[in-house]
């Protein structure tokens, strides 16, 4: 299916979902409920597309998001920055002429057309129906094509044996991993750990929500305020958007 047709169908689905979501039978009673926690028996649905909006004018030198992410997901290093796994990192930008410096958190951008999925030889790298890009470590053979294909350098390879994993976040040697958008929390109806930490201890720069839901705060902001995708020229339609870049 070429991207145009896919995009067209996507618009169709999004329009249908939007129309269904706002059609109400009586006040407070909707035909289809708005974004909410799914029941555990329910599969992730195309009606939703999870994403982040990061306002980097509010992002300062703190690394609350990085700490919270690595704590939540049990990502521990061995003090070897060259090979330690990194799910999210702070990137500093500086305009050479003016000296204007900015900093922003960078993680898996959860693309609509993810290059990591395109190149994966085993189908381990995949995009879930709700737009979250994941690695199925049961089928990952550790070839690291996806690590090379990702334009954001978002993926890490686990070089060394891991112990003390979190029950919701299995991690093991010989597989590739990256930001999961805290899929285990999203499935419970919570927000990712980085967003929670940023809003609690940081500059309140990060927002999480359903990009398809017209009623969501993130959709409203994207509709009314300017935002950018990193490497928009690649036309990957990232799920993570930035403001003030």
């Amino acid at each position: 299916m070429n991207p145009d047709r896919r995009q067209f169908l996507g618009w169709g689905a999004a329009t249908a979902a939007g129309a269904a979501a706002v059609s109400t039978l009586a006040p407070g009673f909707r035909l289809i409920e708005l974004a909410q926690a799914r029941s555990p028996q329910e599969a992730a649905s195309k009606l939703q597309r999870w994403g982040l909006l990061i306002d980097i004018t509010k992002c300062s030198d703190c690394d609350a998001c990085v700490t919270a992410c690595h704590e939540e997901n049990g990502v521990t290093g061995h003090g070897r920055p060259e090979t330690d796994a990194q799910w999210i990192r702070k990137v500093s930008l500086r305009d050479k002429r003016t000296g204007y410096a900015q900093t922003l958190p960078l993680m898996c951008q959860h693309c609509e057309h993810p290059p990591c999925v395109d190149v994966c030889p085993t189908g381990a790298s995949f995009k879930r129906e709700d737009g979250i890009v994941l690695v199925d470590k049961h089928t990952c053979i550790g070839c690291r094509y996806c690590v090379m294909a990702c334009p954001y350098g978002a993926r890490s390879f686990v070089h060394e044996a891991v112990s003390g994993q979190k029950a919701d976040v299995p991690r093991g040697k010989g597989t590739v991993e990256s930001c999961t958008l805290c899929v285990h929390r999203v499935d419970r109806g919570e927000t990712p750990a980085c967003v929670e930490a940023c809003n609690k201890d940081g500059g309140k720069a990060m927002a999480f929500g359903d990009l398809n839901d017209r009623e969501s705060a993130i959709h409203k902001r994207l509709r009314t305020e300017p935002s950018t995708q990193i490497r928009a020229d690649l036309a990957l339609n990232t799920g993570v958007r930035y403001q003030g870049l």
Partner: protein, 127 residues
């Protein structure tokens, strides 16, 4: 085919055990420690669990990973939460529910290379 072969092996072992009064067998290969730590019954009858627990786990694994369906009944977390040892809080180790039986059957098990073998509720409750 594998099942038949396993049956023959088991029958041979039992015969050998009877012949040697069971002592040698127990001495050479540790008999699995099957201690059920918690709950009245498993998620399926014992016979079915012994035969098919790996199929249940495989099925649940793909549903959870690919579709995001997080039913607890056949999840590995659910297994571990009931079967973890009261002493170590783990399903691995010498008398671990998973490891002792797999060692006896000489089946290697990769689950816990990535997944935690520790029971969560009790670990969380501990200071």
């Amino acid at each position: 085919m594998m099942r038949i072969a396993a049956g023959i092996v088991a029958a041979t072992l039992v015969l050998a055990g009877v012949a040697d009064a069971g002592e040698k067998l127990a001495g050479r290969v540790a008999v699995p420690a099957i201690k059920i730590e918690k709950g009245e019954a498993c998620v399926a009858p014992t016979g079915e669990m012994r035969r098919d627990h790996m199929k249940m786990l495989l099925h649940q694994r793909d549903r959870t990973m690919r579709l995001g369906i997080r039913e607890t009944r056949f999840s590995l977390k659910n297994c571990v939460d009931c079967h973890a040892s009261r002493v170590t809080g783990s399903v691995l180790g010498k008398d671990g529910f998973c490891s002792s039986c797999h060692e006896y059957a000489a089946v290697s098990m990769d689950c816990f290379e990535c997944h935690t073998p520790l029971e969560q509720k009790r670990t969380a409750a501990r200071p």
